[in-house]
């Protein structure tokens, strides 16, 4: 074998080992490296009430109920399969609207309502001009797999 | 929240970084090529 081929073989083996190690590590991290629970993963995760966790998903259409005090709201976060009721007191982010994504820091109450301490808006991968939003979002021909199709 | 400051800041950061990159790369190229040419002409 010529030295050049030897080096090539070595490089191929090294790259293959590297990719393999990376993939194994990534799949091992699958649960741990997720930034938040979705309603589905939360339901199967057996998280005890009171433990600080993060919940993410889509704000269900028509679920936002604002309290009479003006700062407390409740809404439902959903993914493809399940939904989770959330209570929050405070100012909501500008992009917090029904049908859009949200990530909430907080904990489960014993009655399984998620009490959020803070809300972050989560934008989806669709970029649509405001004047087209009505037509485009309902048609959503190019919308890819968001949390809620 | 007003959006203009965020947009201006993003483009300003990009502009400053790109200008620095271009100027520093160009100057180091000019300097190195000039002194290489000068050395070559020396006996």
């Amino acid at each position: 074998m010529k030295p050049k081929h030897q080096r090539l073989l070595l490089a191929v083996i090294a790259v293959a080992a590297l990719v393999g190690a990376g993939l194994i590590a990534a799949s091992a991290l699958r649960e741990e490296a997720s930034y938040f629970y979705t309603p589905t993963t939360l339901a199967s995760a057996n998280v005890e009430p009171g433990k600080a966790i993060r919940l993410g998903g889509m704000v269900q259409k028509g679920s936002i109920v604002r309290g009479s005090d003006g700062v407390s709201i409740t809404f439902t976060v959903q993914d493809q399969e399940r939904s989770q009721k959330v209570a929050y007191r405070g100012i909501t982010p500008d992009l917090f609207v029904e049908g859009s994504g949200v990530v909430a820091d907080g904990r489960l109450r014993p009655d399984r309502v998620f009490v959020a301490d803070s809300l972050l808006a989560k934008h989806d991968e669709n970029y649509v001009p405001r004047e087209l939003a009505d037509i485009d979002m309902s048609a959503a021909a190019h919308t890819k797999d968001t949390l809620v199709p | 929240m007003p959006h203009a400051p965020f947009i201006i800041a993003s483009f300003a950061v990009t502009g400053v970084c790109m200008t620095w990159l271009v100027v520093s790369s160009y100057l180091s190229m000019r300097r190195a090529e000039a002194s290489a040419a000068e050395l070559k002409d020396r006996p």
């Binding site: 080096r7 090539l8 490089a11 090294a14 790259v15 590297l18 990719v19 990376g22 990534a26 991290l29 699958r30 490296a33 997720s34 930034y35 938040f36 993963t41 993410g56 982010p93 500008d94 992009l95 609207v97 859009s100 994504g101 990530v103 972050l120 808006a121 989560k122 934008h123 989806d124 991968e125 669709n126 970029y127 649509v128 001009p129 004047e131 087209l132 939003a133 190019h142 890819k144 | 959006h3 965020f6 947009i7 800041a9 993003s10 483009f11 950061v13 990009t14 970084c17 790109m18 620095w20 990159l21 271009v22 790369s25 160009y26 180091s28 190229m29 190195a32 090529e33 290489a36 050395l39």
Partner: protein, 238 residues
């Protein structure tokens, strides 16, 4: 493979190519920025902050593309001993690191009005920050040798190992639930309206051409320094 190995032949091509790439890149980049800033519509949720996409996305792609280039050049350097491969890998490092930094900074600025936070430790943001630190490590490693023209093998190995982070950045939003949205542009298509997609494409081409011009400039600087060093050595010996 070794057709461009001769630095003299490389320079014959690089000399006229540098200003050509630079001017074309500059025109396209400025045009895309003006187009993006003043002639794109407001986004349905984000409002005007959508305009940040025209610097954020090209910077992200070129930051990742830069390391991919370093990895490929490093393999060519180690396997084929191509004399220009190491030079080009080192020339990519500083522009690549700068693009990664631009991506992180503009992303942070974008995050405040849209998400409501400057930074979160999700998979995408963290792996992109790791890429920036990898660049810093690579720059430190390749500068460690005193010989300017020396293309250290340690740096090349580091460049190849670090490349594992690139698919992780790309897949991070799919493998892990993240604050950052999923990819808008994939091989399968795009979920960005053409009102934004067309200027974004122009910006990507423009920034890429500028990147190419920068790499050529830095390669030419490195080659000139190698000539100076060789000359000095001969003068010292003779």
């Amino acid at each position: 493979m070794h057709r461009f190995a001769n630095p003299a032949r490389f320079l014959r091509i690089a000399r006229p190519l540098t200003p050509a790439l630079f001017l074309l890149g500059l025109i396209l980049t400025l045009a895309a920025c003006i187009w993006g800033l003043f002639f794109t519509p407001t986004e349905r949720l984000m409002g005007d902050t959508v305009k940040i996409i025209f610097v954020h996305v090209p910077a992200a792609w070129l930051g990742m593309g830069g390391w991919t280039g370093i990895a490929i050049a490093s393999i060519v350097q180690l396997v084929w001993r191509h004399p220009l491969a190491g030079v080009s890998a080192r020339a990519i490092a500083v522009p690549g690191a700068t693009f990664a930094a631009i991506c992180l900074i503009t992303g942070s600025i974008w995050g405040r009005p849209t998400w409501g936070t400057w930074w979160v430790w999700d998979g995408r943001l963290t792996s992109m920050l790791v890429l920036f630190f990898l660049y810093l490590g690579y720059i430190a490693l390749s500068n460690a040798s005193s010989d300017k023209g020396d293309t250290s093998r340690v740096a090349a190995v580091f460049g190849i190992i670090g490349a594992i982070n690139i698919p992780i950045i790309n897949r991070s939003v799919i493998w892990w639930e993240s604050q950052h949205q999923k990819a808008s542009i994939t091989l399968g298509g795009s979920s960005i309206d053409s009102a934004y997609l067309v200027p974004l494409f122009v910006a990507v081409v423009g920034f890429s051409l500028l990147f190419g011009a920068l790499v050529l400039m830095r390669m030419r600087a490195a080659l000139a320094e190698m000539r100076i060093e060789a000359r000095m050595r001969r003068m010292a010996e003779g």
